[in-house]
């Protein structure tokens, strides 16, 4: 079964004014759409891999045949990362974290402000294209990590709880070179309910 581009869980303009409708439309339809079609094309001759979920492909990336490893890393990673990314944002969201993740953030980082600072600094410091994540590490701790291009912490055995896209295409039309401002404004659209869902999955 071919991989499919999931619909955005809200309209293109739902995250205005923090993320503009044009950015969302191009980011979802073209960037994410291209990752999905390239992933499908790459797996055409690998029927054994077509039945795996994209999560499995990324988790088991290092066991894939060399012929498809890089193309799955880039395009499977792009599909996986963006699928997560859309659900981590919502209109009328943001604000302080709630539920179990709020307590876990306080326990790990001292307070929410410290965590935000760590996350924003890691996002700004990711040279070139990539993502910044809050992940549950293999040894059960929370940590802020950044990954280049379309890599994902899952390949290293860490579970991605929340992540922000710091490829320039995620923010350039609205913020141009001002990545730190984008990182700061992004907190206005964080969907803490979904972060809590993923935190619960990570803890299983």
């Amino acid at each position: 079964m071919a991989f499919e581009l999931p619909s955005l869980p809200y309209s293109n303009d739902a995250l205005e004014p923090y993320i503009d409708a044009q950015t969302m439309q191009i980011h979802h339809d073209n960037h994410h759409g291209t990752y999905v079609s390239k992933l499908n094309a790459a797996l055409e001759k690998h029927s054994d891999l077509q039945n795996k979920s994209v999560d499995e492909l990324i988790r088991d990336l290092n066991t894939l045949p060399d012929a498809v490893k890089t193309v799955v890393r880039n395009n499977g990673g792009g599909h996986f990362n963006h699928t997560i990314f859309w659900t981590l944002m919502a209109p009328n969201a943001g604000g302080e974290p709630n539920g179990a993740i709020a307590q876990a953030i306080t326990d790990t980082f001292g307070d929410f402000e410290n965590f935000k600072q760590r996350f924003n600094d890691a996002g700004a410091g990711q040279f070139g294209s990539g993502f910044v994540w809050l992940a549950r590490t293999a040894d059960g701790k929370l940590d802020v990590v950044s990954t280049p291009n379309q890599d994902n912490p899952l390949t290293e055995g860490h579970f991605p709880i929340m992540g922000n896209d710091v490829w320039e295409h995620a923010y350039y039309l609205k913020y141009q070179n001002r990545r730190p401002e984008y990182l700061k404004q992004w907190w206005n659209v964080v969907n803490w309910n979904e972060v809590n869902n993923r935190f619960a999955q990570a803890s299983r």
Partner: protein
């Protein structure tokens, strides 16, 4: 010695409509300027401060304790080189010794163009496409992020920036359109020929 941000070798409007003045303003005044500022700050008071930027690039490449210096030094150099590789009413085809060498090493100009567009199109994430002289042979290469041929012991002759900031305001996700326009309408072959002549 401190590295100075060079002025653009043409007006902000000079490359329009292929590259807009908005893109050049952000790209030169913000991105390039930030690399230069960061580089100067990072080497200030160190032994690297007295070296040329090319020497710093070679000395810091692959040294994980100096990644920040390498990234900013190489990006400062790469952008200066990139501005010079473009001109208004550029493009066309090279002439003279460079044209002969391209034909000899790639088969034809069209073959070179095909390889160069493919390098730019397939550099995943941020980076650069290059025409280099490598031990006497012309090659098309691509490098991620800040990496450049100087660090790799090759002579850079031509570069195209494929960081998204180089084209996103004008082309969005359509990197292949930007790359084709770069080759057809922007390359300053006189400058490339000068680099080739100096390298021989």
């Amino acid at each position: 010695m401190a590295y100075e941000l060079p002025p653009l070798p043409y007006d902000y409007e000079a490359l329009a409509p292929h590259v807009s003045s908005d893109t050049l303003k952000f790209h030169h005044d913000k991105h390039h300027a930030a690399y230069v500022t960061n580089f100067n700050k990072m080497v200030e008071g160190t032994e690297l401060a007295s070296q040329s930027i090319e020497e710093v690039i070679k000395a810091t490449y692959g040294d994980s304790s100096k990644t920040g210096i390498f990234n900013n030094a190489a990006q400062a150099w790469n952008h200066t080189f990139y501005w010079n590789c473009m001109k208004p009413n550029g493009g066309g085809t090279p002439t003279g010794a460079l044209a002969d060498k391209i034909n000899a090493d790639f088969g034809s100009f069209d073959k070179f163009k095909e390889e160069f567009l493919a390098a730019g199109g397939t550099q995943f994430g941020s980076g650069w496409a290059w025409l280099v002289l490598d031990k006497g042979t012309l090659k098309v290469t691509k490098t991620p992020n800040a990496e450049n041929p100087i660090a790799l012991g090759q002579v850079p002759l031509l570069t195209m920036d494929v960081w998204e900031h180089a084209y996103y305001l004008d082309y969005q996700n359509r990197r292949p359109d930007y790359a084709k326009t770069f080759v057809d309408s922007l390359i300053n072959w006189d400058y490339v020929a000068e680099q080739f002549a100096a390298a021989k």
